[in-house]
Amino acid sequence: MMGHVLDKPVLAVLATLGLMLAALATTSVVRAELQIDITKGVSDPIPIAVVPFAAGGGGFDYAAVVQHDLDGSGRFRTMDRKAQRTQPTRAAEVVAADWHADGQDYVLVGRLTTGASAGIDCELVNALSGQSLGSRHVAIEAGNPRAAAHRISDFVYGMIIGTRGAFSTRVAYVAVDGAPPAQRFQLIVADADGENSQVVLESHQPIMSPAWSADGRWLAYVSFENHASAIIVQELRSGERRQVSARAGVNGAPAWSPDGKRLALTLSGSGGNLDIYVLDLGTQELTRITEDPAIDTEAAWSTDGTQLYFTSDRSGGPQIYRTDVASHQRVQRITFGSAYNARPRISPDGRLLALVSREGSDYRIAVQDLASGSVRVLTRGSLDESPSFAPNGMSLIYAWHGGERGSLATVAIDGLVSQQLKSDRGDVREPVWGPFPRSP
């Protein structure tokens, strides 16, 4: 069952062409920035006042970022600052009845602290009862003040919605500009609100299928250097790149196992038959998972790492199938109902399958309940693709096409909230939501 049909693994770290590309694998000045527009929010968003934090002299407006995060979630409506009659900085100073009279359900107050515990102390107050719901101290990271604000947003979201916020997370995506065939491809990592974008890799050849490791330290992706596909893993902090598969034919669709030790990937060999394999990154041992003349690709791990979901056209059109990683003898079809179901992704709680599903001639993002099999189509575009779950499972980021340009968007899994993330230049595609940051 080992990859006997394939050429000898090429494990060259930074092969000649890799070096060429590595020269470009540094931060570039020119990059596509994303702008968020809420296209749909809940009909009755939660009213909350975010009071400007008492300054410690820094001058950065942390509360404005928190406000932007909460409004951007589509689940909150923040109070206009100018309408705030008082601007308390401690829960004890909040006159709940006044805020409630002004239509607010919650009040967030805070102040910057200096000295050994430099950061922000904030408290969340229920404007109806006047009770403090909790307080949080967040440290301020040198050079990245937005990070502290995002952690406060996570705190507020978690306290009120009951689910961990995903404001402190990052997304990776591919930006393309220029007219074919002279196109330029960039792999970009940005904060979930589109800010702090950094170019991880730039190439004149396609870059595809970025995938985060579970610890958020590495990205795997497909690059086409020397007119052939290869799978690269790159550590974001150091920029270190390792070519982990450059076998004959297709090297595609990398997906990290939840424990970060293995990569599921798609290989075709020179015979051109795409099947799913699992590569042990430590031992380089390659295990063949599927063996079918059809196209088998786009593997996604179950949350416990025991199952692989993948796209296969073994029944004619593409559908999603599942197999056990250890035994991989039995393959079970998961999707029905549309002639085109592809690109599986499993929600963090393991209950939902996100996929691209064709309705008529339109490609849309849908979620299928894995227990009941019921399917809900979440988007209304005609060329929607590449869904990726937020690590809190509340929403999906995906790519869509508005005329000539590819853009990104998010949609809540309950369908109640959607956002567009527009790039200021070029095409953006293949978004992948990174994991939660490790606790600061």
């Binding site: 590309l21 086409f224 669709a253 798609t266 051109g272 796209t311």
Partner: protein, 180 residues
């Protein structure tokens, strides 16, 4: 940084030159030439194909890929969701097969492409299937396996942009890139 970037650009240009194809040679010159084939139905029009062939032949003449057969189109087009070589391109593939079979030292790379619809990685599979279909046809006509390599770019390297059937029809293709 700028110097490095320039070196990479130069190296890429060298690679392209070495592969015997200016990038722009691959784009059909006449936008209308292949539009006749965009119905996605099996019985597509031969007239459109002839137009495309003319445009490609014009491009191929006098450019790179010294061992490429003269006056033979280097791009063939496919129907939606199909890797079957359309009847009007059978003679094109045969002309390439003849040139390759005649000289075993000549090598070609078949680049498979799809339109932009659907999932990018699944499209890599479809592009590979198209390239393999052409490879099989070449091998059946006496070309040696060692003369042919394939690569699938899926939807990543469109010939033209635009979310219209006319654009998509020009992007569902296999390109013959002569390596010497």
């Amino acid at each position: 940084m700028l110097k490095n970037a320039l070196m990479v650009v130069a190296a890429t240009a060298l690679l392209l030159a070495g592969c015997g194809g200016k990038p722009d040679q691959r784009v059909p010159k006449s936008a209308d030439a292949v539009v006749g084939n965009d119905s996605g139905a099996a019985g597509s029009s031969g007239a459109g194909a002839a137009g495309a062939a003319g445009a490609e032949a014009g491009d191929a003449a006098g450019q790179g890929g010294a061992s490429a057969p003269a006056n033979v189109p280097r791009v063939i087009y496919f129907d939606f969701d199909s890797s079957e070589i359309r009847p009007e391109f059978v003679s094109v593939v045969a002309a390439h097969a003849k040139a390759l079979a005649r000289n075993a030292s000549v090598r070609v790379r078949l680049e498979g492409h799809t339109d932009e619809r659907g999932s990018p990685e699944y499209n890599i599979g479809l592009g590979e299937r198209r390239a393999q279909a052409v490879k099989r046809a070449l091998l059946l006509q006496g070309v040696a396996d060692s003369q042919v390599t394939t690569v699938s770019y899926g939807e990543e390297r469109p010939a033209v942009t635009g979310a219209t059937e006319a654009s998509w029809a020009k992007n569902r293709r296999v390109e013959f890139v002569y390596l010497n």
